[in-house]
């Protein structure tokens, strides 16, 4: 069994962190890892989470796909994300 390093991998995302550009009004709902190591991160939000979503009133979800290194996979949806409208996740 691999040991637990007890430290954050600085090579993941930016300094070890992925933060959606829709933050800070997003709530993380679920994270899943596919068999090929890609990471699906599902968030939900209320109103006006980011400028390009500002016109979307109401609850909605945003699903990102990341490479194992925390970079957004732009081949998924539109620029790496799918917006799920009018849904409370």
């Amino acid at each position: 069994m691999q040991s637990f390093s007890q430290s954050i991998d600085p090579d993941f995302g930016i300094n070890g962190t992925f933060q959606s550009k829709d933050a800070p009004l997003m709530t993380t709902r679920k994270v899943e890892v596919s068999v090929d190591g890609k990471i699906y991160a599902l968030f939900s939000a209320d109103f006006y989470a980011s400028e390009d979503l500002a016109a979307k009133n109401g609850l909605y979800g945003v699903l990102y796909r990341l490479f194992p290194n925390g970079q957004i996979d732009n081949e998924f949806g539109t620029n790496g994300r799918v917006i799920i409208e009018t849904t409370d996740l």
């Binding site: 709902r29 679920k30 899943e32 596919s34 699906y40 599902l42 939900s44 109401g58 609850l59 909605y60 979800g61 699903l63 796909r65 081949e75 998924f76 949806g77 539109t78 994300r81 799918v82 799920i84 009018t86 849904t87 409370d88 996740l89």
Partner: protein, 152 residues
Amino acid sequence: MIITENNNLVICGMAANDIPEQETPVIFRMLENGQSNAVFGTNGIRTLSLFQGGFMAAAERSMGELLVANDTYNINGEFAEAEIRIVRMRENGDIDRSDGALGEYILNTTNKEYMQGILVNQYDQVIFYGHYYSCVASDWHLNNFMFFEDSD
């Protein structure tokens, strides 16, 4: 959200209405590239009218069968609290009604359980998990639960 055996993404939630007892359960199914899976429901979206409000969760059993469950408001708009409702769904979003006209199962519970998710184990048994509150001598406790489907 689950990733199915064929790498589809299934997400379930409630169509937002701000009135919980009037919210509609909705399930999205996407292809691996994030596009809607057009053969599921209507353009990748399936709504359910069997239950309302509450927390939604999904799991995949063998042969691609989807299970969708929630701790629910009942059909009269009352928060049932002591039941979890489950629907079996085929890969295309059709409800499996082979065991009843509604295709809906009700798991009667006793402690006002709040479901957090469902899983399927290697024996195709369904596991429901979550928490509930209890009060003993004015002292509130947070308890966890796990229900296993009877395999007999």
